[in-house]
Symmetry: C2
Subunit: 425 residues, 2 copies
């Protein structure tokens, strides 16, 4: 199996030496951060397996798909409508990367004061480290931030890239623009795959993606229980895996996990004592293996119970209406659904402030940690408004700006300890 993997990676053009170094580093980190947790749900076994074989079995599936004439579509953002890819029998995979490992490589080309997510992802391509990038036929970017918008232009020198325009306002014309972008994306995908996106196929794909959204909603609802039946780290991992696993299998696995958590909630079983501080994290997304903030928080005795994030509620809170109709009608429904994502790319984006307050109450949190990646202008600026809003709502807030390095871990621990001390009931 390992030899098979190495051959596959070689075929994909992977730099084996760098790749070995990455995987060799990941193992002990995962052991320390994940496997050392106590009283984990058994249902996490699948997700442990996925990470344990992170560049193996799933990549093999993508390769097999490609050998059968299928296409792999790589994305960086929850705005890219994956329903459309699935409907054309393409497989969408998330490419956002969460490791410092590839950041220095990216910095040879990209501006250093670019956020770690962008640098990490770009470094993966530059260093030929990530088999998901290598296995993809088309990278679909978007214009949700300046850093990505302009990085995609440079990335296009290495691999085919198509960029969708996400508007900045939510006027009628902005919505028309986005609806047009969704339609254009369908045409791009049809051309790439040679498969027509029919009403039936689109309806079926929408149903599958909605099912996964419902499963993640179920998981998050279970996190409202006290004591919380699953750690924030584990829940984060589940969401992260959902970005690149098969949609049906992932849904099943999340539901199996939730069945188990149902039992825990019914019996009052938790992973942490009921009186630990409950934390909502809000802000920039966290890609695998960016478990830094969750790990610090939960090591310090808190429970992360919700993420208002692209790797959290923004990913699954809204469903696409499943009322069928023509392809055009369904595409319109899809476009409308994605415009409900309260991303900081919009101006204004006050709905996000409402979301944070609402989630803080629904999840009965003791405090909110606003997380933004350094150099992420949109979330860093919104933090100013978040601070004001939460102060008015009487909800404690800690603002964290960080990157993927370990350099600030000590400082973060000190600040987080102080925050938890303040909010501890």
């Amino acid at each position: 199996m390992t030899d098979d993997n190495r051959q596959m990676w070689t075929d994909l053009g992977i730099d084996l030496e760098r790749h070995d170094a990455l995987l060799n580093a990941l193992g002990p980190i995962y052991q320390e951060i994940y496997l050392s947790q106590k009283n984990r749900p058994e249902g996490m076994g699948f997700f442990d397996f996925v990470v344990g074989d992170i560049h193996g079995i799933r990549v093999r599936e993508l390769r097999q798909h490609a050998m059968n004439g299928g296409k792999v579509v790589a994305t960086y953002c929850v705005f890219v409508p994956e329903e459309i890819a699935w409907a054309a029998d393409a497989i969408p995979v998330g490419l956002c990367a969460g490791t410092q490992f590839s950041v220095p490589l990216a910095e040879e080309i990209l501006p250093r004061n670019t956020c770690a997510l962008i640098k990490s992802s770009f470094g993966f391509k530059l260093g030929r480290i990530c088999p998901y990038v290598q296995a993809s036929h088309l990278i679909v970017g978007e214009t949700t931030c300046d850093g990505k918008k302009k990085m995609f232009e440079i990335l296009a020198q290495y691999q085919p890239v198509y960029v969708m325009e996400v508007p900045s306002k939510k006027t009628r014309l902005s919505r028309e623009l986005w609806a047009g972008e969704v339609l254009a994306f369908k045409e791009v995908i049809e051309k790439l795959t040679g498969n027509e996106v029919t009403a039936d196929k689109l309806s079926q794909a929408t149903g599958l993606v909605n099912e996964r959204r419902r499963a993640l909603q179920r998981l998050y609802n279970l996190r409202k229980a006290s004591p919380v039946p699953i750690s924030g780290k584990d829940a984060l991992l589940v969401t992260q895996v959902a970005f690149y696993d098969d949609v049906t299998r992932c849904t099943q696995q999340v539901n199996t996990l939730c069945d188990e958590l149902d039992g825990r909630v019914a019996s009052g079983e938790g992973v942490f004592p009921a009186d630990v501080p409950r934390i909502l994290i809000s802000g920039s997304p966290m890609a695998i293996p960016n478990w830094k903030l969750h790990h610090i928080l939960e090591s310090a005795g808190a429970a992360v119970v919700c993420e208002e994030s692209c790797i959290g509620t923004r990913f699954f809170s809204d469903l696409v209406p499943e009322n069928g109709g023509t392809v055009e009608e369904q595409l319109r429904n899809i476009a409308d659904r994605y415009m409900q994502i309260h991303c900081a790319c919009f101006t204004p984006n006050d709905e996000r402030l409402d979301d944070i307050v609402r989630l803080a109450r629904e999840y009965q949190v003791d405090g909110v940690v606003h997380y933004n990646l350094q150099f992420c202008h949109t979330y860093a600026n919104e933090a100013v408004k978040v601070e004001k809003t939460l102060a008015e709502a009487g909800i404690p807030l800690l603002r964290i700006e960080t990157d993927y390095s370990d350099e600030d871990v000590g400082q973060l621990r000190t600040r987080i300890d102080a925050f938890l001390e303040m909010i501890r009931r």
Copy 2:
């Protein structure tokens, strides 16, 4: 007069203590950077006078306008169609600020890793230092970068702000969106002023703004001469002043200056010897009093002969067609004209690469200095492509990333000296 000014500033809510400190600092800087230049055109006298009375006479005009029931519309970007403001008898003024003085104030609220232009401008509002901000009835922002887009939301807590959406792509739908934004802007201005933008008024305003564009084109064309008849610093100042001076007066003054420069070119008179290295600066805009890079370059023995910048060619290269027509037809012409600005907010923006190469040849430069403000993602990323393009064209390039502080001046001097040494003929 000075007492009158102080009363006016007080009426505008200016923090006189801070404001005094700013003006007291500006005088010696202007003396050192501008007035110490040798063989300056006499036509610069007007611009010296404007800077010498920077917060006096022009502000008084705006106040007088307001007392007569007129409105002042403040802008941050060359994408805001000033024709429409003039046509409604509103006066547009540029608010971009170029001083480190107000940066620390802004950093109390804005993310520190925001570009200096945004921080400087925001700090002016926060510290009540700038009478142009105070005298304006509406600030019109736009979505050309994440930093400004999100700053405007915070600024709106202090003063009325309206934001125009500039799209990221140049598809048909993106252009439709922009055309809609231009129309909506007309309605906003009509509502603000109570004045209808008629076809005649719009046509007249377009003519006036075009005249100023032609005058600036004339000035830049004169800079193609060798020896160059005007310093880069002086030409930069002319463009900077054009952002807030009366459009007709500015046109006249630029043309008077150009008449003088015509004579210099005819007689072969220059401000620098003919054999000094000729430099094109390309990149982020430079607001008053950001003369840092020009000053370092020209103090080191180079001549800056062109700016591919919002405070340069992007500001005036394209005219709005003056073929009249209905208001709707004219607005469409205006929308089309502004979409020709090759701003790094667009993806892709390869037209800018063509512009740089073309301008480098037209102005017979010996090298290009790519200038981007630190934390400006769009221009910093485009620098990667600029570097590649200029290498292919055989044009020497120096990439500079800086801010408004003096901290890196020594380092910049060293790098610029080395660059000039390399390209010197």
